[in-house]
Amino acid sequence: MTRHFIKRTLAILLTAAAALAFGAPGAPASETIRIGTFLSVTGPASFLGDPELKTLRMYIESINKDGGVLGRKLELVHYDVQHLADKAKTAIKRLIEDDKVDVIIGPSTTGTTMATIPLVERAGIPMISLAGAVVIINPVKKWVFKTPHTDRMACAKIFGDMKKRGFTRIGMISGTGGFGKSMRGQCKGLAADFGISVLADETYGPKDSDMTPQLTKIKNTKGLQAVLNPGFGQGPAIVTKNFRQLGMGMSLYQSHGVASKKYIELAGAAAEGVRLPAAALLVADQLADNDPQKVVVVGYKKAFEKRWGSAVSTFGGHAYDGLQLAISAIARAGSTDKEKVRAEIEKTSGYIGTGGIVHMSPDDHLGLSLSAFRMLEIKNGEWTLVD
């Protein structure tokens, strides 16, 4: 009888859930191509997942309007996993086993990606991660690809710029979230190659609201020429504000983790003069007309901003690239056979995306070179190209 009771409760809940969920997908048509995704739409990494999901929805709609791929409609199956590895693991099982998707785009964060890689590899299904860390594709995993530049590349780009400006003594203040922690490690490992020494190394928590104590210590470290702040979310904006509040004279570098208009909006005037590496998307209008990426990035930017009424971020761009890589591979493979699609993704060459020009290979499941990154500086509240 207890069981009966539970079953009835569940049945009621199910009905309620179905009734409440606007636009919840009905039974799948047999002929659709099912694209699975599990993003960080809520929680501390929602600024990643939110534009990513919006991008996927918008493009799948428009691709379907144009007739779909291989004459079949696309269907998006999505689960919000926040930043939680456990939710990601459950979601990927659901996508693979229950929804039987053909290809997976996502997740948003390194932690959720790393948690699901063993399952993806065992199941044998192509997955294009939208997360940053280099560990995702190095060493190479057979079924796992990714579109965003790695944190290691960001470090190299930043250190290259510092070297050019003659900075060799720097301080770092990193977020303790997965992104900040990973990039902090990569940058510290890479610094010596550029003749740069990290003389101050501070951190802050994901919910911290005041970083002046950490910055005060950095300020009082003698001879620093620049400060690098790997992190995402609101943290870097607070660091930037505190940095100016303390009247710190050195240059401030941010990471590609803040590559959205939101950062400038939050940090306000304090963001003036801050440099960061980012994809061409942020400076779409400033690109030279002969820049191969110009058409792609301007097109995406216009479409996104028209549909959603908010500024583009590079994160949505990663999802755009992931979707394009997946559907063009499916188109080339002529089927949704997983091994064939995987092989076609791996053969991607010369795809021009929002993140850069992609040349994949069996040894490189990212396919972006350092040149895909642009060094930007914030001037008058706008992104401007430095090089």
């Binding site: 809520t42 929680g43 501390p44 929602s46 600024f47 939110d50 303790t176 501070e202 951190t203 802050y204 928590g205 919910k207 911290d208 609201s209 005041d210 002046t212 104590p213 950490q214 005060t216 210590k217 009082n220 979310g233 609101q234 904006a237 607070i238 504000k241 100016r244 509040q245 303390l246 009247g247 939101k262 909006e265 939050l266 940090a267 306000g268 005037a269």
Partner: protein
């Protein structure tokens, strides 16, 4: 070296003042009902977020602030009326769960009604840092600190002088006796939620220009405020303020002198030590159980 110390101190006092306001909210509700309101942090969030959205809707800042406080107070009253009152007489654990449910609910509502992004709010009086002996402080920090001082004073006056404030204290001391002498204890309970929602929203609005605001800023502020309230002795007004300042300053000093990675742990380590050695907090009264 002194400038460094002073900088840590100023940082700590700013954050600590906000913790203190949240702790006061905890204490007021605790006094009236012995409920620990885990949704206290959400009041902070609602204050900040509502102001931002009302301003975005085109309202001038002062109007937006007043409306935001009102919205939060109304939600606080509704929370008491709809969730706490029907469960009166339930034990400590169920009430904790109800308020946790309420906090998840309020966060969900804010997420849907507003959005999931971080928002900046303009400072009340510019953001040119003020230099003090080599350390700097933002004008907004003074607003936070001043806000806490004013609220603390008003509360003190309310409880020490105003008739209704005394009625609230009487209810805290002995609800049955208070009812017998004609205090409307249900009203007192209701008002305690309104009052703490007011405090929370004020803290949220004062703090938003410094820390930004989003639908989930309330979680950590709530927990730290709870720490501060316990540290000062649950239900003790001045204790809550002092507890808040201690937690804030300890965090800033810890981040500055010990380890920024363990900054968040510092508040909780202090709390554990205090509870181990002074189970009633710094100012709490020793209680003996009657059998």
């Amino acid at each position: 070296m002194f400038a460094e110390f002073l900088q840590f101190l100023l940082s700590g006092v700013t954050v600590g003042a906000a913790y203190g306001l949240v702790a006061l909210g905890f204490s007021i509700i605790y006094n009236a009902s012995h409920v620990i309101n885990f949704a206290q942090g959400e009041f902070v969030m609602l204050g900040g977020m509502s102001t931002v959205f009302l301003m975005a809707a085109g309202l001038p800042m002062p109007v937006a602030v007043v409306l935001a406080v009102l919205v939060t107070v109304v939600l606080g009253l509704l929370l008491e009326k709809l969730a706490i009152e029907p469960a009166r007489g339930a034990g400590v654990v169920p009430l904790i769960i109800i308020t946790i449910g309420a906090s998840i609910f309020l966060r969900g509502v804010a997420q849907v009604a507003m959005d999931r992004e971080f928002h900046a709010m303009p400072p009340f009086t510019g953001d040119a840092p003020i230099m003090i002996a080599g350390a700097t402080i933002l004008p907004q920090s003074l607003w936070v600190f001043g806000g806490m001082a004013v609220m603390g004073m008003l509360l003190w006056y309310f409880f020490a002088r105003a008739r209704f404030g005394k009625a609230m204290l009487a209810t805290a001391y002995n609800p049955l006796a208070a009812r017998l002498i004609g205090v409307n204890t249900r009203l007192v309970l209701l008002c305690s939620f309104g009052l703490s929602a007011l405090l929370g929203s004020v803290a949220g609005i004062l703090l938003a220009p410094i820390t930004f605001t989003s639908y989930d800023v309330g979680i950590m502020l709530g927990l730290k405020g709870f720490c501060a309230a316990i540290l000062g002795g649950m239900g003790h007004g001045a204790g809550a303020v002092v507890g808040g300042l201690i937690v804030g300053i300890a965090e800033a000093m810890g981040a500055g002198y010990i380890s920024s990675e363990y900054k968040d742990a510092i508040a909780f380590i202090i709390i554990l030590l205090v509870l181990f050695f002074m189970p009633n907090g710094l100012f709490g009264k020793r209680t003996t159980e009657r059998v």
